[in-house]
C-alpha cells in the first residue's frame, strides 16, 4: 500500500467501481459566470426604484457525460463552447452552478478542499500552455517533487527522489534536467515536464486541456505518443479537450461534440467519423483541411455562434441549422441513444428528417 489516504471513502468506492460503474459521471452540469460585478455594481435605478440586475455568461448549460475506466473521451468544439470549463469544473478548479459530478460513484463537486485532497491525487491535469503552467522559479526537480510531497507527506526524501527518477525516465526526461529551470527548455520539452508532473503521483484519471495545441507539428506527434504510451502503461483514463479533429480521430475512444455549452453528439470515435449525425458535427467535420487531392465542399453555416449571455430558445444551434423547424426553435433537444452506440441531441435526427 503506497496510499496514505485519510478518508476511507475513495477506497470503498474503488471496489464498487468495478461493477460497470463509470469512473466519472457528470449530470446536468451548469456553470454561469457573472458579468455584473459585485453587489453594489448590480444595483440600478429603474422606474424610480432601486433594482438588482445580473447578467451571466452561460458557459455550460446542462451537460451529461460518463467516462468509463480506460476510456479516452475527447471533448471537441470551437472556442467558447464550454469545453475547457467542463475540464476545470471536473477538476474542482471551478464550482458548478448546478448539477453534480461523481468520481467512482462518490459526489465530489460539493466537497471541501480538505476532503477533495485524496481525489486530487487520483485526478491530475495537464494544461495547454507549458510556458505558463511551470513555475519559473522552481527547478524541474522541485516541480516534480512538489506534488509527491504534498500527497505523501510521510515519504522519505529518498523515496520521493526515487519516484521522481522513475517518472522522469518514463516520459523520456534526462536525469540532468532536474537541476535546470523551465525557461531553459523548448515548448515540447516543457510539455513533457508538465506531463511528468501530472504522472508523478500515480493518478488514474488525467484531464488534458488542449495539451498539444501550442506545439509544432513534429513536436505534437512526440507528445501525443507520450500520452498514448502513458495510457497503455499506467492504465490511465483521459478526458481530453481539443479543437483538433484529426487528433481526436487518432487519440480518442469516444468523442463528445459541444456547441454553446451543450453536448450535441456523443459517439465512439470510429462511428462519429464514419457517420456524423448532428448537423453541427457534420459542418465541423467538413471544415477540416485535408491533404487529399480534391478540395471537398465544406458545409457553410449561416451566421455566427450566438453569445452565451442571451442563449437562444430551444436548440442552441437552430439559428444556424439548415434543417431547423418550429420545434427546434421551442424545445431543447435531449441526448437520445441510437443503435450504433451514439447519442445525438437533435429533433431532426430523432424524427428521421436528417439522416
Amino acid at each position: 500500500m503506497t496510499d496514505t489516504l485519510s478518508s476511507p471513502r475513495p477506497e470503498a468506492s474503488h471496489s464498487r467501481a468495478d461493477n460497470g460503474q463509470p469512473l466519472l459521471e457528470i449530470r446536468g452540469l451548469e456553470k454561469r459566470f457573472s458579468l455584473s460585478g459585485d453587489f453594489l455594481e448590480q444595483l440600478k435605478f429603474k422606474g424610480g426604484r432601486l433594482v438588482r440586475e445580473q447578467e451571466h455568461v452561460h458557459a455550460i448549460n446542462g451537460v451529461d457525460l460518463e467516462i468509463q475506466r480506460g476510456e479516452a473521451l475527447c471533448v471537441v468544439g470551437e472556442s467558447g463552447c464550454g469545453k475547457s470549463t467542463v475540464a476545470r469544473t471536473v477538476m474542482g478548479l471551478l464550482h458548478p452552478s448546478a448539477g453534480e459530478i461523481r468520481y467512482a460513484g462518490e459526489r465530489i463537486d460539493d466537497l471541501s478542499t480538505q476532503a477533495l485532497m485524496p481525489y486530487r491525487r487520483r485526478m491530475q491535469m495537464i494544461f495547454q500552455n507549458p510556458y505558463a503552467s511551470l513555475n519559473p522559479r522552481m527547478t524541474i526537480q522541485q516541480t516534480l517533487e512538489e506534488p509527491i510531497r504534498l500527497h505523501h507527506p510521510d515519504w522519505s526524501r529518498q523515496r520521493v527522489r526515487d519516484q521522481v527518477d522513475e517518472v522522469m525516465a518514463s516520459v523520456g526526461i534526462a536525469a540532468d534536467w532536474g537541476k535546470r529551470y523551465g525557461h531553459e527548455f523548448s515548448g515540447g520539452q516543457r510539455q513533457r515536464i508538465a506531463i511528468a508532473r501530472a504522472l508523478a503521483v500515480d493518478p488514474e484519471f488525467i484531464v488534458a486541456d488542449e495539451p498539444i495545441s501550442a506545439l509544432d507539428v513534429s513536436i505534437q506527434a512526440q507528445v501525443l505518443n507520450l500520452l498514448m504510451d502513458a495510457r497503455r502503461d499506467r492504465n490511465l483514463t483521459y478526458l481530453f479537450i481539443t479543437h483538433d479533429l484529426a487528433v481526436v480521430e487518432h487519440f480518442g475512444t469516444r468523442v463528445a461534440v459541444m456547441y454553446l455549452g451543450r453536448v450535441c453528439e456523443v459517439a465512439p470515435t470510429a462511428t462519429l467519423f464514419a457517420t456524423p449525425r448532428h448537423p453541427y458535427t457534420q459542418a465541423l467535420m467538413s471544415a477540416i483541411p485535408r491533404l487529399e487531392d480534391e478540395r471537398p465542399q465544406h458545409i457553410r453555416l449561416e451566421g455566427e455562434v450566438p453569445t452565451p449571455v442571451h442563449l437562444p430558445s430551444g436548440c442552441v444551434f437552430h439559428a444556424r441549422c439548415p434543417h431547423a423547424n418550429a420545434r427546434c426553435r421551442e424545445e431543447i433537444p435531449r441526448l437520445i441513444a441510437r443503435d450504433d452506440g451514439s447519442q445525438v441531441a437533435c429533433h431532426g435526427v430523432e424524427e428521421g428528417r436528417i439522416d
Binding site: I219, A287, I288, R290, D293, R300
Partner: protein, 340 residues
C-alpha cells in the same frame, strides 16, 4: 519574367553576441495570379521571409544580401518614399491576429478611408464608396452598418474579413498572408480560406500564404516552399510535394500528422526539435534529426555533416538533400540544371 523574383535573400539579426542568420539563400518566384505556400514550424524563418519582402524587418534585423525584384524594380535599398508606393498599394499584407491589426479607436470605415487617402488623391465620399464595395466583396452581411462599427463589435471571423477587405482596397497584385487563420476556429478558417481563394482567382491576385498547416496549404496553393532553420529545403508544385515528398524533413512532417496514421497507432515522430538559429548544426541543419544520414549498407554519409546540400531536381520538385542527390546519381537520372 515573374512578377516577383527573390534571389539568394539573406537576413540577419545583429545581436551583441554576433549576427543570427535568420534567412539564408532563400530564392523563389511568384507569377501574376499564382498562389504560393510557405510552410515550416516556428523558427523556420517563414515570417521573416514574408516581412523582408516589404522591408518590414525591424532593427536589429537587416537584409544582408540578395535581391527582391518586383515588376522589374529592385526593392532592397529602395527609398522609403518609393517603397510606400508598392507596400500596401501593390503588395499588401494580412497578419495573424485580427484583433492586433485593426485600430481599436477608429471605426472600420475610418480605417479603410484612411488607407485609401494615404495612397491616392481621393475624396472622402468616393473612398467610402470603395470601402463599401470591398466589404461586399468579402461577403460581410449589412456592410453599410459595419462601416460605422468598431473592431470590438465584430467577431474574429468578421474582423479577418474586414482585414482582407482592407488588403484589397487598392487592388494589389500580391497579397502576403501570414498565418491568416491560425487564431480562428476551424469552421471560420474554412470560410476565410474559401474567400481568399475566390478573390485571388476572380481578380487574378497573387497570394503568398504562410502557414504551419499542411492541410491548408494543400487546399489553397499551387506551389509551395518548405523551410527549415532559415533555409528552403524543398520546393515545387503543392500536389507533387504533398503526394510524394522527397526531403526527409518534409516526409517526417507529413508522417507526423495524425491523419496519416491508423487511429490509435503510434505516430511517426521526428526526434528532437528545431535547432536555434545561433547554434546551427554543421552541414545540413536537419542532420541531427534525420534518419537517412546512413546509407542502407550502414556506411555514413559524411556530406550530411560537413556540406550544406544544394537543390536537386526530381520531377518538378527540388529538394536540398544529400541522400536524394545520391539516390539520383545511382539511378543515373541526369541531374538537371536547377535555377528555379
Amino acid at each position: 519574367m515573374s512578377l516577383l523574383e527573390v534571389n539568394q535573400l539573406d537576413v540577419r539579426f545583429a545581436l551583441r553576441r554576433g549576427d543570427v542568420k535568420a534567412l539564408r539563400d532563400v530564392s523563389f518566384t511568384l507569377d501574376r495570379g499564382e498562389r504560393l505556400g510557405i510552410v515550416g514550424e516556428s523558427g523556420a524563418g517563414k515570417s521573416v521571409a514574408a516581412f523582408s519582402l516589404l522591408n518590414l524587418i525591424a532593427k536589429p534585423g537587416y537584409i544582408a544580401g540578395g535581391s527582391i525584384r518586383f515588376d522589374g524594380q529592385e526593392l532592397i535599398g529602395m527609398r522609403d518614399r518609393h517603397l510606400r508606393q508598392i507596400r500596401g498599394n501593390r503588395i499588401s499584407m494580412i497578419f495573424q491576429d485580427p484583433m492586433m491589426t485593426l485600430n481599436p479607436v477608429l471605426s472600420i470605415g475610418e480605417q479603410m478611408v484612411e488607407c485609401l487617402k494615404a495612397h491616392r488623391r481621393i475624396g472622402r465620399r468616393e473612398a467610402r464608396a470603395i470601402a463599401l464595395r470591398k466589404l461586399e466583396q468579402v461577403h460581410i452581411p449589412s456592410p453599410e452598418a459595419r462601416l460605422d462599427q468598431y473592431p470590438h463589435e465584430l467577431s474574429g471571423g468578421m474582423r479577418q474579413r474586414v482585414i482582407i477587405a482592407i488588403a484589397l482596397l487598392l487592388d494589389p497584385d500580391i497579397i502576403i498572408a501570414d498565418e491568416p487563420t491560425t487564431a480562428l476556429d476551424v469552421t471560420i478558417q474554412a470560410e476565410i480560406m474559401d474567400l481568399l481563394l475566390e478573390l485571388c482567382e476572380k481578380h487574378n491576385v497573387g497570394l503568398i500564404l504562410i502557414t504551419h498547416d499542411l492541410g491548408v496549404v494543400s487546399q489553397v496553393t499551387q506551389r509551395m516552399l518548405v523551410m527549415y532553420a532559415g533555409r528552403v529545403i524543398e520546393q515545387g508544385p503543392t500536389r507533387e510535394i504533398i503526394n510524394d515528398p522527397q526531403h526527409p524533413y518534409t516526409q517526417g512532417l507529413m508522417n507526423a500528422l495524425p491523419q496519416m496514421a491508423t487511429p490509435g497507432s503510434r505516430l511517426n515522430q521526428i526526434p528532437g526539435s528545431m535547432p536555434s538559429l545561433d547554434n546551427l548544426p554543421s552541414g545540413c541543419a536537419f542532420h541531427p534529426r534525420c534518419g537517412f544520414t546512413q546509407r542502407p549498407d550502414g556506411s555514413e554519409r559524411t556530406a550530411c555533416r560537413s556540406e550544406v546540400p544544394g537543390f536537386v531536381a526530381s520531377g518538378n520538385c527540388q529538394a536540398a538533400c544529400h541522400m536524394v542527390a545520391e539516390m539520383q546519381d545511382q539511378e543515373r537520372i541526369p541531374a538537371q540544371e536547377t535555377s528555379r
